[in-house]
């Protein structure tokens, strides 16, 4: 009960917090800022009252054009005010795309002209003008009403005083109650006005939902590309470290063992056997490491491109591969890497599961797309969901906005088709 009373009390006191006074100050300033655009609109009407339709149109559209022209400046002023007084940041919309495609002869006048044309074409300009001419003044009107409420409160207070002096206390009581209601209502109006004002500003001056989403998409695309590139760079670094360090040491070890095996011919039989075993082991390890490291990042891919790199992959495949690569120009390194790993993963899958006699790999350019197709004549029935590398392939393609198609009816053939945009 007490708690309910306290919260009701807090609710009743809301209009009399410090915030209400800050809001009042804001409304005053904001109203002042609303004056110039409104002033421009009524200026002509003050000095000249148009009597005919054409002059009415001139008196409406000429000021409107001026407001539209000034709308970036007016908007910037608004944005600064909201930030300084309320700490509210209205995000700047992205720069206008140039629909006129830029002037052919970039003289000063043409440049200004095409900038204006862009501005008139953009719905953003009209949203801003709507804010400056209609929405904001409407919100301010509520603020003005609060001033009226205060004034009314004063009037009713003095009237109540008069009635009290004349002794008619009942009437004085009623007048006083009206005064109290008005005094209480005024700060509520102020706060409502400010809330409206801010909401309209965010809706009409900030980027539209569409622009926000477009911005978000471009941010995400950028950060995803950065992630993919970072992963690539990391693979490259690991490859380089293994190549410069471990691999050279292993070659050296295997070579020394080989030298010992070749020169130490007078060793006891079991020592020779141990040496031979160590030598073979070292060579096997070397071959294993070589395959692993090449799988991390093939230098030849960077150096000579897809065709050169894929012949290495195809040659190492245990299932015979027919390889046709028709990519006359280099595409983005990230896309090359995706295509390369798609083929190498697909061939590894075929070797593991397909029981195929032959696989066919085609890589070709189709306009802006790099297309990769891997087919085998195996048993088919592969299931993308069953922990095969297929999901990984689809994800790899998706990481560069590529498409991935897969078909594997029971009895075969299994086909994987990937389409990658060449430039990211």
């Amino acid at each position: 009960m007490n708690a309910a009373l306290a919260s009701t009390g807090r609710f009743l006191l809301v209009p009399w917090q410090a915030r209400a006074w800050r809001d009042l100050w804001f409304v005053v300033l904001s109203s002042a800022l609303s004056l110039p655009p409104l002033g421009i609109m009524v200026l002509a009407w003050i000095f000249y009252v148009p009597a005919y339709v054409p002059s009415v149109l001139v008196c409406v559209f000429a000021p409107l054009a001026v407001v539209v022209l000034l709308s970036p400046q007016l908007t910037a002023l608004r944005r600064a005010t909201y930030f300084e007084i309320r700490g509210v940041r209205i995000p700047k919309p992205p720069p206008l795309p140039s629909a006129s495609g830029g002037p052919r002869n970039p003289g000063r006048l043409t440049a200004v002209g095409s900038a204006l044309a862009d501005r008139f074409r953009s719905p953003r300009t009209w949203r801003q003008a709507l804010f400056h001419l209609v929405a904001c003044p409407a919100a301010e009107l509520v603020g003005v009403l609060s001033g009226v409420a205060w004034l009314g409160a004063l009037v009713f207070a003095s009237v109540a005083g008069n009635f009290a002096a004349k002794g008619s206390f009942a009437l004085a009581g009623v007048q006083f109650a009206v005064c109290l209601v008005l005094v209480y209502l005024a700060p509520w109006l102020v706060m409502a006005s400010v809330r409206w004002d801010l909401k309209l500003a965010a809706d009409l001056l900030g980027p539209t939902r569409e622009e926000q989403l477009a911005q978000r998409v471009s941010d995400l695309t950028e950060s995803r590309a950065a992630t993919v590139d970072a992963a690539d760079a990391e693979r490259r670094r690991i490859e380089r470290d293994l190549h410069d360090g471990t691999q050279q040491r292993l070659v050296s070890l295997a070579m020394n063992l080989g030298l010992a095996r070749a020169t130490l011919t007078d060793l006891p039989e079991d020592a020779r056997a141990a040496l031979a075993e160590a030598h073979e082991e070292a060579k096997d390890t070397l071959a294993e490491l070589r395959h692993l490291v090449r799988g991390l990042h093939p230098v030849v891919l960077e150096d000579r491109g897809l065709d050169a790199a894929l012949s290495g992959v195809a040659a190492r495949s245990p299932v015979p591969v027919r390889l046709a690569v028709d990519v006359p120009r280099r595409v983005s390194p990230t896309v090359e890497a995706v295509a390369y790993f798609t083929v190498s993963e697909a061939l590894a899958n075929i070797a593991k599961h397909a029981q195929a006699a032959e696989a066919r790999v085609d890589v070709w350019l189709d306009g802006p797309l790099l297309k990769v197709s891997v087919t085998d004549d195996g048993v088919g029935g592969a299931d993308a969901g069953r922990g095969s590398g297929l999901n990984g392939l689809a994800q790899r393609a998706a990481s560069v906005d590529g498409g991935f198609e897969f078909s594997s009816p029971v009895g075969g053939p299994t086909t994987i088709q990937v389409e990658l945009p060449c430039e990211l």
Binding site: V251, K283, P298, E302, R316
Partner: protein, 217 residues
């Protein structure tokens, strides 16, 4: 045999030097990059050059490019290129000028000291030594050419020829008689339309070239 080694790993450079000197080669220069290799060849005029593919500054194919320069400027120098991975594209580059006195092997092969030294001697003697992995990659490209007509066994024999093996070597490897090898080789010549008027050794080189040419076509 006067030899220059270009290899950027200190460990391997020392190891190779040791292996070669044990086998009676004379290592007249051991350098760590392509520029050093060219300078050493200029200075020492060796009979044999051993070069790593990946060296400073870009760590891609410096060795291949340096080998091509050596081949152009000092055609009498035999060249063995070593690499952590073999790529047919680099092989095609190396063999683009001539297919004699050139070798391209995986670094792993160094571990089999005896056969590595044999490859070196073969290359120094004007032969070729292509890594089986390169040959496998090259074979992959042969499918749509006249090489299509070859049987699997003939392909295998041609691959070994491209590796620079002699008939005896091929016979040993495939565990068949030397006359069987000769029969396969004649089959290859016939299917590739190489008539006997081209001469035995010459035909052999032409067959290997055809094999490698399909690559670039």
């Amino acid at each position: 045999m006067r030899t220059v080694i270009a290899e950027d790993s200190v460990l391997l450079r020392a190891g190779l030097t040791k292996v070669l000197e044990t086998a009676g080669f004379e290592v007249v220069g051991a350098v760590d990059d392509a520029a050093g290799l060219l300078a050493a060849v200029e200075e020492h005029r060796p009979e044999l050059v051993i070069a790593d593919v990946r060296m400073p500054p870009t760590f891609t194919d410096e060795g291949v490019r340096a080998a091509l320069v050596v081949r152009r400027q000092w055609p009498e120098v035999a060249i063995m290129v070593l690499s952590q991975y073999v790529e047919e594209r680099y092989a095609a580059d190396l063999l683009s000028q001539q297919t004699s006195a050139i070798g391209y092997l995986l670094k792993d092969r160094v571990a089999d000291v005896e056969s590595f030294l044999e490859s070196l001697r073969r290359v120094a003697g004007g032969g070729t030594a292509l890594d089986p992995e390169v040959v496998a990659q090259l074979l992959l490209r042969r499918q749509d050419t006249s090489l299509d007509r070859l049987t699997a066994r003939e392909r295998e024999v041609l691959g070994l020829m491209a590796e620079g093996r002699s008939n005896t070597g091929i016979a040993e490897l495939l565990v068949i008689s030397e006359s069987a090898v000769a029969k396969h080789i004649n089959g290859i010549f016939a299917k590739l339309d190489l008539s006997s008027s081209d001469g035995g050794d010459h035909r052999r080189v032409l067959a290997v070239l055809r094999f490698l040419d399909g690559e670039r076509a």
